[in-house]
């Protein structure tokens, strides 16, 4: 009451009022900007899906679902027939083989880093393994063409054929070394760092008490891993593997370089093949006809469906079953 008489008080009150109004505006603005950024991400995703499906429209109209099963791919004017069967097969074969090869190695690396390596070793080895993911895929592919493929042809193919040749996957050695097998090896190199860094974090989040408890009951280190660490993190490890699979499915450049662009469905890994993503990368810039381009968009639609499914399942598993908040990084 008495303070109202002095002239300073109304000014202070007004200033406070302004400030409060400003704060309210600032809060709302920052909230709006942040929310808009988040929404923009979702909008872009929807737009991407829409444009790709739109681009594929002519091919979807013409071939329908038979595009998925047919494996004829003749882009020249006179034939103009397209089918992604062999590409779908090549995509799945190369990626799953890479996962088969890469996941056990990557999980072992995760175990090594989280449970066996002393801190000093871990601090050196983990960034080095993650460096593998930092190598640009185009350089990995270039290395694959010039160095890995000749080595595969001269050494690995004959060796595998001689020892486990009774499995139809490992047929007669071929002439160039450009093959589904080589592509799988490149993909393996790409997915190992992804899976291993996620699984390392998972393993490190397993409570010490549980491991110590198992040890106190006389379990050896392997038995602790087998009985405590792996079961508690199994869902996260599966999610990590799916994440790696998603990466392998979508890789275009490195695969296009080393897979040899074949169009047949072969069980033999040493023959050439092609994947959806690689076919888009290698043929889209020089597409011959409308329909050719639309078919490549159709491939992109298939890839989008498979890739997004792998990622969604991974993040669903990660959320649903996570013991220790199985989160990437």
């Amino acid at each position: 009451m008495s303070s109202a008489a002095t002239p300073a008080a109304p000014r202070a009150a007004r200033r406070r009022d302004w400030r409060r109004r400003g704060d309210r505006f600032g809060d709302a603005a920052l909230y709006a900007i942040c929310a808009a950024a988040a929404l923009l991400g979702a909008a872009v995703l929807i737009l991407i899906a829409y444009e790709v499906v739109e681009g594929a429209r002519p091919a979807i109209d013409k071939f329908g679902l038979s595009f998925v099963t047919g494996s004829e791919w003749k882009p020249t004017e006179q034939f103009n027939v397209f089918g992604a069967g062999s590409l779908l097969y090549g995509t799945l074969l190369s990626s799953f083989f890479a996962l088969l090869l890469g996941a056990p190695i990557a999980i072992s690396i995760g175990l090594f880093l989280s449970m066996l390596a002393p801190k000093a070793v871990r601090n050196v080895v983990s960034p080095l393994v993650e460096m593998l993911a930092a190598i640009p895929t185009v350089i990995l592919g270039f290395w694959g063409v010039l160095i890995l493929a000749p080595f595969v042809k001269s050494t690995i193919e004959p060796a595998l054929h001689d020892t486990v040749g009774f499995i139809p996957l490992f047929g007669e050695p071929q002439t160039t070394g450009l093959s589904v097998f080589t592509a799988s090896l490149i993909l393996t190199i790409m997915i190992i760092p992804i899976i291993s860094s996620v699984s390392r974090d998972l393993f490190m989040s397993v409570p010490r008490d549980m491991q110590d408890g198992a040890s106190a009951l006389g379990a050896t280190r392997w038995e602790v891993i087998r009985g405590v660490v792996l079961p508690t993190t199994a869902s996260g490890v599966v999610a990590a593997s799916l994440l790696g699979l998603g990466r392998a499915l979508g890789e275009a450049i490195a695969v296009a370089q080393v897979i040899g662009a074949g169009s047949e469905i072969n069980i033999d890994l040493f023959k050439t093949g092609d994947t959806l993503a690689a076919r888009i990368a290698s043929q889209f810039p020089g597409a011959l006809t409308e329909l050719h381009q639309a078919s490549l968009y159709y491939c992109a639609v298939l890839l989008l469906v498979i890739g997004v499914a792998a990622n969604l399942i991974a993040s669903w598993i990660g959320r649903r079953f996570s013991y220790a908040g199985g989160q990437v990084r």
Binding site: V44, L128, V129, V138, I139, I225, G246, G250, F284, A300
Partner: protein, 307 residues
């Protein structure tokens, strides 16, 4: 249990006394321990194998690329050098970084400061999907949407569109990384600000962001290293870049390192391989130094904040 003890322990013929005997594992335990050791060796071998692959790849790139590297190679245009590709890559990645960093940081802020549980899980799902989006599809989208003359906007190939495409790849990386950095900031700091009656946006701008700045920088460098080597989108969006002169204008098609390496490797002309190896060496060394440096920085700042 007691019967085996009775028959084995006392009754039979006496042996020479060995004080270490009870401590030496035998039988089943011995087998279990050997198996455990064996798996440990396997895990170690896996780690060594991964590093060996890294060393082999880098060694090959250095061995073949070192001959190509010279001052002219870096500073001149084709046919002597690759300057246009380097400058083009820098422009494209620069644009991508300018777009992606603010967006990524804002999304992370939204997730950490504002979003309720459902909104947060929706947005992080979006980020997951974006992160898993094949790069070639991002490129295809921008080709249809902006580049293709018959498409929606029909702008033709341009460096800035490639930058936009790379920013789509960088945003989820930056958002995820920044989120991790923000989580490391002690809650007590923003609580102290709240207690003083500071508005939320002031807290964000003057307390949270300054203490996260180092981490955000690191995250940005890491995602730059990732984007610099990305090829697939560039192949569709800016493949017609002129390699005979340095172009700075992002509204033209720009040459870039990755597309150049790809073209050279597809041409299968041994003369071009030297150039490709040289470019690979330049890119790999930039990427390795950038990401190792950034990681070291991150580790240091983590130690600082946690202690």
């Amino acid at each position: 249990m007691s019967s085996t003890l009775g028959s084995g322990g006392f009754g039979d013929r006496p042996r020479a006394y060995d004080p270490a005997a009870p401590l030496t594992p035998t039988g089943n335990l011995r087998r279990r321990q050997i198996f455990s050791k064996f798996t440990e060796y396997l895990a170690t071998a896996a780690a060594i194998g991964a590093i060996a692959v890294l060393v082999i790849v880098i060694y090959a790139v250095v061995q073949h690329g070192i001959d190509a590297i010279s001052w002219d190679f870096i500073t001149k245009s084709a046919p002597e050098g690759v300057a246009p590709a380097l400058v083009g890559s820098a422009v494209i990645v620069g644009i991508a970084t300018l777009i992606a960093t603010p967006l990524g940081v804002l999304i992370a802020l939204y997730l950490n400061e504002y979003a309720g549980r459902r909104a947060a899980s929706f947005v992080s799902l979006t980020m997951d999907v974006m992160n898993g989006l094949p790069a070639i599809i991002v490129g295809l989208f921008f080709f249809t949407f902006m580049v293709n003359q018959k498409g929606t906007l029909g702008l033709g190939q341009a460096g800035w569109i490639a930058g936009l495409a790379l920013s789509i790849i960088m945003v989820p990386l930056i958002a995820r990384g920044t989120q991790g950095v923000l989580r490391l900031i002690p809650k007590s700091q923003s609580e102290a600000a709240d207690a003083l009656g500071v508005a939320r946006w002031r807290t964000v701008l003057s307390v949270i962001l300054p203490s996260a700045l180092g981490g955000i920088l690191t995250v940005t460098i890491l995602s730059i290293a990732r984007a610099a080597g990305e090829t697939a989108p560039l192949l569709l969006l800016t493949s017609n870049g002129d390699i005979s002169r340095v172009v700075l204008n992002p509204f033209e098609a720009l040459a870039s390192g990755p597309t150049r390496i790809y073209t050279l490797s597809e041409e299968a002309n041994p003369a071009g391989f030297t150039e490709a190896w040289g470019l690979s060496l330049l890119f790999i060394s930039f990427i390795l130094f950038a990401s190792l440096g950034a990681r070291a920085l991150l580790a240091r700042s983590k130690r600082k904040t946690s202690s």
